[in-house]
């Protein structure tokens, strides 16, 4: 049976542009910019100075806080700057800029770990932390934190998020086709690290080849199962995935582990496999470069820190005049104003929309058609929340659960009045959080 959740939308997927293109290794960048905070949590502190020589895989930023992840050099070369730089998340972020020496020398510390059978759960978690692995789906939550389950939480299920519901993006799809055993290896490491006996891999039914590919690898493994999911956005949203696979609902304001579930992205599993097998920290990832404004859409294996423009140029450069360049997919991606910002750990895709494909709308009054209500996967009333934002009624917005919004963008997508509902709710959320801080 195909499983899914309530609400959601069916945007045009446009995955045909890249879904049959094998992953290609990107050329070595001349210069990389490594932001210190590519994850949720405290940014790292740089541990190299201008002029230092670093090698591929060498740690350049140390994570001091618990919710954090170290960062590593993705090329060998010389540190030319340690300063705040623009990054795709907007604004400036302390970054280490490395000029590649072209040699791509491996750091001496990068050595394979003991075989997984000999590792204790804590050792696995520590390796994951040291490898700087964060969720590769987009948000970038440090993976080791996710796996550190307090004893009172009874986690019984691991879910691998391979839904990849964002239109255009095919990075995970290619990964499942080309390196399924890595995904399963990583998953088994997670299961061992957490002591969980049951896991599911959720894949949307528009990727039958990926389902086959995984099924081949897990044949005979009783504790791992593929769950076929309906093709619907945001099927890959953590809460939606949990609901579809297990039928459980993460309580408002809670975490997946509150209902005994840990969710990890397929890319994250592969990164864990890579770290355990080779000792290589997270310094490269698969990203889908696509859209109407790119000459040759591709799935590229890129080094973290590569400027976006370099990546786009490897795909033949722009086709026509670019209107928008997004880091991520069209639903939740961030529009970039400058193209020398680096690709980061969460860059699942780079989407270039041709100018004529970018439509800007004047919002008109809400006609209460309730399309946003039907589309909202959280069952919120986006139109009410937007009205509260317009009048600055933050308390009402909080009562109507603004903080539960996952910012998936479904409401804005369907709104016939072109009201930027998602944006209004974001504004409400930030005000509510600010007020909460003040009242503390």
């Amino acid at each position: 049976m195909i499983k899914t959740f309530k609400g959601g939308i069916h945007p045009p997927y446009n995955k045909d542009l890249t879904k049959n293109k094998p992953i290609e290794k990107a050329v070595l960048p001349k210069k990389v910019t490594i932001p210190m905070g590519m994850h949720i949590g405290a940014p790292c502190e740089p541990i190299v100075k201008v002029g230092d020589l670093v090698k591929k895989g060498q740690k350049v930023g140390e994570a001091k806080a618990f919710v954090s992840a170290p960062v590593h050099a993705s090329v060998s070369g010389k540190v030319v700057a340690v300063e705040p730089r623009p990054w795709p998340g907007g604004g400036l972020m302390m970054s280490v800029v490395i000029e590649s020496d072209g040699k791509d020398e491996l750091f001496e510390g990068v050595v394979p770990s003991k075989p997984i059978e000999q590792l204790t759960p804590d050792e696995i978690k520590n390796l994951i932390r040291e490898a700087g692995i964060t969720g590769l789906g987009g948000a970038g939550f440090p993976t080791q934190v996710k796996l550190s389950v307090p004893p009172e939480k009874n986690v019984d299920t691991i879910i691998v998020n391979a839904a990849e519901c964002e239109p255009y993006i095919t990075a995970d799809h290619r990964l499942l086709l080309e390196r399924p055993e890595d995904v399963i290896f990583g998953l088994e490491a997670i299961m061992k690290a957490t002591g969980v006996k049951k896991s599911f891999i959720g894949i949307e039914d528009n990727k039958p080849d990926a389902i086959d590919s995984i099924n081949k690898v897990i044949a005979g493994k009783k504790d791992i199962e593929v769950v076929v999911l309906a093709t619907k956005y945001p099927q890959g949203g953590e809460k939606q995935l949990i609901k579809a696979v297990t039928g459980r609902e993460v309580p408002s304001g809670g975490l997946p582990m509150d209902v005994g579930v840990i969710v990890n992205n397929a890319g994250t599993c592969a990164a864990i496999a890579n770290a355990l097998k080779t000792g290589m920290p997270l310094i490269e990832r698969i990203t889908t470069v696509t859209g109407s404004g790119v000459k040759e859409p591709k799935n590229l294996l890129i080094r973290i820190g590569t400027p976006l423009i370099d990546i786009i140029e490897q795909c033949g450069g722009f086709k026509g005049t670019p209107g928008k360049v997004l880091m991520g997919g069209p639903m939740m991606g961030l529009a970039q104003s400058e193209l020398d910002v680096p690709a980061i750990k969460g860059t699942s895709g780079i989407l270039v929309l041709e100018k004529s494909d970018v439509k800007l709308f004047e919002p008109s009054p809400c006609i209460r058609c309730a399309r946003c209500v039907d589309a909202c996967p959280i069952n919120l009333l986006p139109t009410n929340l937007a009205k509260f934002t317009e009048r600055g009624m933050w308390a009402e917005a909080e009562n109507y659960h603004a903080l539960d919004c996952i910012e998936c963008g479904c409401c804005s997508y369907v709104c016939p009045a072109h009201i930027p509902l998602t944006q209004h709710i974001r504004v409400a959320k930030s005000h509510i959080i600010e007020l909460r801080k003040k009242n503390k």
């Binding site: 609901k243 408002s252 304001g253 928008k324 961030l334 400058e338 008109s364």
Partner: protein, 307 residues
């Protein structure tokens, strides 16, 4: 490298392509079906009434917005829909000037004083209709027989006052006295289905509305098919009770709306002073809509306290 000026707006970056005017024009297209039926049965006057109310509605909207120095939004098609709906709810023999009064009342009192599209608590076309109904009762209840053009009664008042029934085929094809767009159940259903199919109308309201009327008719010992097919019920259930602006947001809210409207329609038809109760029922449920919305806020995903 060329210096591109990139557009940066917040996500999402794609849109379904749906727009208010597209919705309105689709409703207008669906409304053309009952309009054709009206013109077929009642001739030139029907056409003239539709044109007059539509133009008056659009003009009133434009004048109002001009006076308030607001952008004129008559091209969104909502005034057109209001005008057409009003005409479909009028007796074909109504004097033209009264139709103009109705259209002005509909747009001015029903919509613009509340700030225009999206803010009106009541369905504007129905406000126009009951305004006329109360103001000019006699012309508003003088019906023309489609066959010979003589005046006569509607099937519902024949039933209520004299206990005379009308056969189903006549009701279904619309060969009876009544408002110019409400008689032909067949074309109304086709138009309504078109809107449901295109996703412009939620099936919940027509289904619960018609279902409630049918079930209550059976319980109260009357002919459910007769009551479904006669009067403005079909037109109301498919085109007026489904007006997005004035109906509840959530699914359960829509069901409550439909059931409430059905209940009120039956009460007025069976026990009230008016032979027909569709307009009043829908308007009363419009009035209840804010309260329904308040008490049917959907339970959100994971609505429990975090442990």
């Amino acid at each position: 490298m060329d210096d591109y000026r990139l557009i940066t707006t917040s996500s999402p970056h794609i849109h379904s392509g749906e727009s208010v005017s597209r919705i309105m024009f689709n409703v207008a297209i669906a409304l053309l079906l009952p309009t054709f039926a009206g013109i077929y049965y009642f001739g030139f006057r029907a056409l003239a009434l539709v044109i007059i109310t539509s133009l008056s509605a659009i003009l009133t909207e434009a004048v109002f917005q001009k006076l308030r120095n607001k952008p004129i939004t008559i091209m969104d098609g909502s005034a057109l829909v209001t005008g057409m709906l009003l005409a479909l709810n009028l007796p074909p023999g109504l004097p033209y000037w009264m139709a103009v009064v109705g259209a002005v009342a509909a747009i001015a009192l029903g919509k613009q004083i509340y700030g225009g599209l999206g803010s009106n608590p009541f369905n504007p076309a129905l406000i126009g209709r009951v305004f006329l109904m109360i103001s000019f009762t006699t012309p508003m209840t003088t019906w023309i027989n489609p066959v010979d053009g003589t005046t006569g009664a509607t099937p519902l008042s024949l039933m209520k006052m004299q206990g005379i029934t009308t056969d189903y085929a006549k009701l279904f094809f619309g060969n009876v006295g009544g408002s110019l767009g409400e008689t032909c159940a067949l074309l109304i259903i086709i138009g309504g289905m078109y809107l449901i199919f295109k996703g412009y109308v939620d099936w919940k309201i027509p289904a619960s509305y018609l279902g409630t009327v049918a079930i209550l008719s059976v319980i109260l010992g009357q002919d459910p098919i007769f009551h479904l097919l006669s009067g403005g019920l079909m037109l109301g259930a498919f085109f007026m009770a489904t007006d997005m602006v004035t109906t509840p947001l959530s699914g359960p809210g829509k069901l409550i709306f439909g059931i409430g409207a059905g209940l009120l329609t039956v009460i007025i038809r069976f026990y009230g002073g008016y032979p027909e109760g569709v307009s009043f029922s829908i308007l009363l449920m419009n009035a209840f809509t804010p309260l329904i919305n308040r008490f049917t806020v959907p339970k959100i995903y994971g609505e429990v306290k975090a442990k």
